[in-house]
Amino acid sequence: MSNVPSDLKYTKTHEWLRTLPDGTVEVGITDHAQHALGDLVFVEVPETGRKLAAGEPFAVVESVKAASDVYSPIAGEVTAGNPGLASQPEAINSDAYGKGWLMRLRPGAGGAGGEFLTAAQYEKLIAEEGG
């Protein structure tokens, strides 16, 4: 049922990654994840310049019935948090892979070395979870 674009990479914790032309990486939560959370009412994004380790929580997404940390899939330095989400958290509900991006970061030493899922693998994961 969920929308899983084929050109992105995914994590088991429901984040997506997109490598931009300048080498930075854009990160957000998947359509499946926004659906499970429900209408988002608040999103906290990281400040520019923050250094993140792989697996470190970098954002909080809140609906009226749930709140969840979002984990950085890779190590790196934040080049931007999405400024639009403060006033329009619903952008994640309506456009998880576009206007709903959470942050962009420059991969640090060790780069994007983590293990990521392809769209097909992620689709299989959410099907197994009963999504």
Binding site: D39, V41, F42, E62, S63, V64, P89
Partner: protein
């Protein structure tokens, strides 16, 4: 129950009006001429200017927009919404008790302190613990005191690595939140299909970092943890302590005691088991009881008897205490209400409470099954509460537990607890308590059956409920996104300021 909404009290306000008969005489401006101008307020606060009658009418009308135990069946699971006897209130509000200053000398409080001391003794007797502190002001503060004591105990022994608190995945949210407030790390252990803690998983989870485990028994799943002795052995052998969350004490009062089950520390929710009022969300009281080895760490002030006199022990008397949890001694007035209630129950009444609470829950479970509902744990006895899962109805009829809850309001019954425990999908956690009659329970079953029939015929009537309340379902998303947390005067009615 009224359905007429009441405007905010600020909209009754008229400049210059006031309940002046309630005020002291005006001492005149000279009385405060010593206060420096820089310290003084400029501009009056936004308080309404209304008469006594307007005030009485406004708040009486607001009261009529509430469901309460005094007016409605209130089977809110895990909250023990039993009848709050009127004598408990009126006797706790005798003028001498109300007027007593918290720092008044012990010599002018021996009557009050005698009640407190006897309350402690009764709590020790019903819980099987060695010592009790009355000061925690709510269940969550009792939990805090308990985990802080566990931590202090390990530290005092030089066992500095123990900072993990184990909680079953079905635990109340306060358990993990408390562990965090005490600087501990939370480890969750699963529960098996029958509702008991997964013993193998527990054995794998305990070790040299285990500070303790937090358990409710009967659990939040409405069933008794049958292997509690094995759980206690496992945790104790690993060097951890056992914390008993007293949320469900009503189920076992006078039948079995946490102390005998192997618990080292407990809190009791007096606003549940001992029938002090919930007051629209407080005040509660959460006294803690401990085994002998934790007694040196109890919070202060701690009531003691010296000869024939009662008095408070402080930090000086208890150097290892976890400290002070409140400005004074805690919720004294709540403790007095619980004292009166416990004296009225007496030795004979304690077990009656759990017997009839359990009878009512098991009767509801049997009748709800007959009416076509699914029990979450069909092969288990219900404790004092039971869980119905509406997973099947949600799938077949598109009607959720929340819809049932809202439609029950139209039947003049408060909804059970919904969506807790998180482990059971589409659940209703139903706790009738011992003070409800068979007729009240039958009416509840009839209402549930009626809603089920309606859900099959006319589901939108259920999914759009409630229909007879002062308001319909509220937009929680808007409430959280467009925060409106205080009333703002329309420009035309701006509150005048004085210099």
């Amino acid at each position: 129950m009224s359905t007429r909404l009441e405007k905010p009290i600020f909209e009754y306000s008229v400049p210059g009006r006031g309940a002046e008969d309630q005020w002291p005489r005006d001492p005149g401006p000279a009385a405060s001429d010593d206060l420096p101008a820089a310290s003084r307020r400029s501009g009056r606060p936004l308080l309404p200017e209304v008469s006594e009658l307007e005030t009485v009418r406004h708040f009486t009308r607001l009261s009529q927009l509430n469901f309460s135990i005094d007016t409605h069946f209130y089977p809110l699971g895990s909250c023990t919404m039993k009848y709050n006897p009127k004598a408990c209130n009126s006797l706790a509000m005798l003028p001498e008790f109300l007027a007593r200053h918290p720092l008044a000398p012990e010599s002018s409080g021996q009557g009050f302190l005698a009640c407190m001391y006897e309350l402690q003794e009764m709590l020790k007797a019903v819980t099987g613990m060695q010592a009790v502190a009355l000061s925690p002001m709510a269940g969550a503060q009792g939990e805090f005191a308990g985990v802080a004591m566990i931590r202090a105990y390990h530290r005092a022994r030089g066992d500095l690595e123990r900072n993990e608190i184990i909680v079953p995945e079905a635990a109340h949210g306060t358990n993990p939140a408390t562990a965090t407030m005490c600087g501990c790390v939370v480890r969750e252990v699963p529960v098996n299909a029958a509702g008991d803690v997964d013993l193998e998983a527990l054995k794998a989870a305990v070790g040299p970092k285990t500070a303790g485990i937090m358990l409710t028994n009967p659990s939040t799943l409405g069933v008794f943890e049958r292997r509690i002795e094995a759980v206690a052995r496992t945790v104790h052998e690993a060097g951890g302590l056992l914390y008993y969350d007293g949320a469900n004490l009503n189920a076992i009062l006078g039948k079995v005691r946490p102390g005998d089950m192997g618990f080292d520390v407990i809190h009791v929710n007096l606003h549940k088991t001992f029938s002090t009022p919930h007051g629209g969300g407080g005040p509660g009281a959460g006294p803690v009881g401990v085994s002998a080895r934790l007694a040196p760490f109890l919070p202060v002030p701690l009531l003691a008897r010296r000869g024939e006199r009662y008095g408070w022990l402080t930090e000086r008397d208890l150097p290892q205490s976890i400290g002070r949890l409140s400005g004074f001694m805690g919720n004294a007035g709540v403790l007095l209400r619980a004292y009166v209630y416990m004296r009225m129950l007496g030795r004979e009444g304690m077990a009656k409470v759990s017997e009839y609470a359990t009878l009512n829950a098991n009767y509801l479970l049997a009748q709800l099954k007959r009416a076509g509902f699914d029990a979450a744990y069909p092969d288990r006895r219900a404790s004092h509460e039971l869980i119905v899962t509406l997973k099947r109805q949600a799938k077949e009829l598109g009607v959720t537990a929340m819809d049932f809850a809202k439609r029950l309001l139209d039947h003049g019954m408060h909804a059970p607890t919904t969506y807790f425990p998180l482990l059971v999908p589409e659940c209703l956690l139903i706790e009738p308590t011992e003070t409800e009659s068979k007729a009240a329970l039958d009416a509840f079953v009839a209402a549930m059956a009626e809603i089920l029939a309606e859900a099959a015929k006319e589901p939108e009537r259920v999914t759009s409920a409630p229909h007879t309340m002062p308001v319909r379902r509220l937009d929680d998303v808007r409430a959280a996104k467009q925060l409106d947390l205080t009333w703002k005067p329309p420009a035309a009615h701006a509150i005048p300021t004085t210099s």
